[in-house]
Amino acid sequence: MFLTRFRVNTARPGARRLLSSPQALHAAVMSSFPSLLPSDSSAPDGPRVLWRLDHNTRAEVMLYIVSPTQPDLTHLVEQAGWPAAATDPDTPGWQSKPYTPLLDHLAVGDTWAFRLTANPVHHIRRKDDEPRKRTAHLTPIHQMAWLLDRQERGGFRILEKPDSKRLLPGGTTHRQQEHHGDRYELSVRDRRDLSFDKSRGQNLSRRRPVSLVTVTFDGRLEVSDPDALRRTLTQGLGKAKAYGCGLMTLASLPGGG
């Protein structure tokens, strides 16, 4: 497995085209794997290509890719990077590193900082005789609950805050009801309501935009099941993995995790 980082040059028209449509960016990411053909059908629970955009500031937009093979992002550098700087072999325009050593060293009890951009959804019906439909979670409380629901299967446990850092001591409301809003080392931010066309220019009558709600989770976790976490990190979490969702990355904790 490889972890790749590419900084998007937001001043370029090509970057704006890619950033405005997850569909276009997904196509560009998938084109960076020369051995991966669109006609290939991958194994349903094998490692896959995952990507994520980190909008840290207006002009600091990072594209992270986790993939089974090493990508070649030359076309992205040409369209949305710094091609002149990339002629120097020291700065090829993107960084790619083997991810397997980190995955192999995951052990029970390790603590990490994590970031995950996901598409939290559930399936609901409004009336009894209606089919259930996939519906986005819109409030941070529900979005957090969505992630907390998946932590055990994902092989990690989100750390709880010490009482001194909580606004609600004991993690309960004043009526002593459990409330996760302030209990965990977890924040939800950067909600994006995306709506984009899946195909461009053809058959206007069939054009219905894809709409997605994505949020970015930041927090701290403890590894509870290394195998399950390895699967989470390489196969993604949740829906809309083709549209920049589901990629979780780990970083060492500031205090030396």
Binding site: L3, R5, Q95, K97, L102, H105, L250
Partner: protein, 246 residues
């Protein structure tokens, strides 16, 4: 030595130090003579009583500019109410929407007396001119003990109006200008003729006073933390990993 602090806030203020005749200017901060005059009025000291005034004039004075306000020019025409003859054209300058914290350092008994006088004034206090009433209670507090004037002006919370604080919400602290009386050993002081000697109606007299300009950093209670993304670098974990392997 104690310190008495005052909050001077109002829609209009006017603090003249060198105004004469029909052009009545204002300094950008309250003058010592203006503030001492206000305290003397609150304590009920009559205009000709120079010995009582000398006790007040001996206090050390400092002022912090919490909200500078803007200068307003009032071009005034008036006619005599009886004869109908026109009065001289005059220009009056005011500070609009300004807030200051003034501090007086000196004898504890005198300051306690003045503090009580501000709560039950003999003559109502005003901000430099009779037409400029204060918008908020003037007295802030009496600081007993050894805290020097500069420290008191540093510790006093920011008194600016909420709308003004919100404009500075990106700053965790604000730096405020302080104009205080110079110590003996300090040179490079400015001088201003606002040390009151006499408020006698027929002949007011002021002496020169030396002033040191300074700034203090005060926390901003309206500051909101910047909502930038937390730092997250997945590559630092990889580097640590490779360092551990090698």
């Amino acid at each position: 030595m104690s310190v008495l602090t005052l909050r001077l806030a109002g829609p209009l203020q006017s603090w003249g130090a060198s105004a004469r005749f029909t052009r009545r200017t204002t300094e950008s901060a309250p003058t010592k003579s203006g503030v001492i005059g206000m305290l003397a009025a609150a304590a009920g000291i009559e205009r000709g009583d120079d010995t009582e005034l000398a006790r007040l004039g001996a206090l050390r004075y400092g002022v912090r500019i919490d909200q500078p306000g803007s200068r307003v020019r009032d071009f005034q025409t008036a006619h005599h109410p009886v004869t109908g003859k026109s009065m001289p054209l005059s220009e009056r300058f005011y500070l609009a929407d300004a807030v200051f914290v003034a501090a007086l350092e000196g004898d504890r008994a005198l300051l306690t007396e003045l503090h009580a006088a501000l709560r039950a004034p003999v003559y109502a206090p005003y901000l430099g001119r009779r037409s400029c009433p204060p918008a908020l209670p003037i007295e802030l507090g009496l600081h007993d003990g050894t805290t020097p004037l500069r420290q008191v002006l540093q510790d006093e919370p920011w008194q600016a109006a909420p709308w003004y604080r919100r404009q500075r919400r990106r700053d965790a602290t604000v730096s405020l200008a302080v104009l205080r009386e110079a110590d003996e050993h300090e040179d490079h002081a400015d001088v201003l003729r606002d040390q009151p000697l006499s408020f006698a109606a027929d002949h007011r007299r002021h002496a020169l006073r030396s002033i040191i300009g300074d700034t203090v950093e005060v926390p901003n209670p309206a500051a909101v933390p910047t909502r930038s993304a937390p730092r997250h670098d997945p590559f630092d974990a990889l580097e640590e990993e490779s360092a551990r392997c090698s």
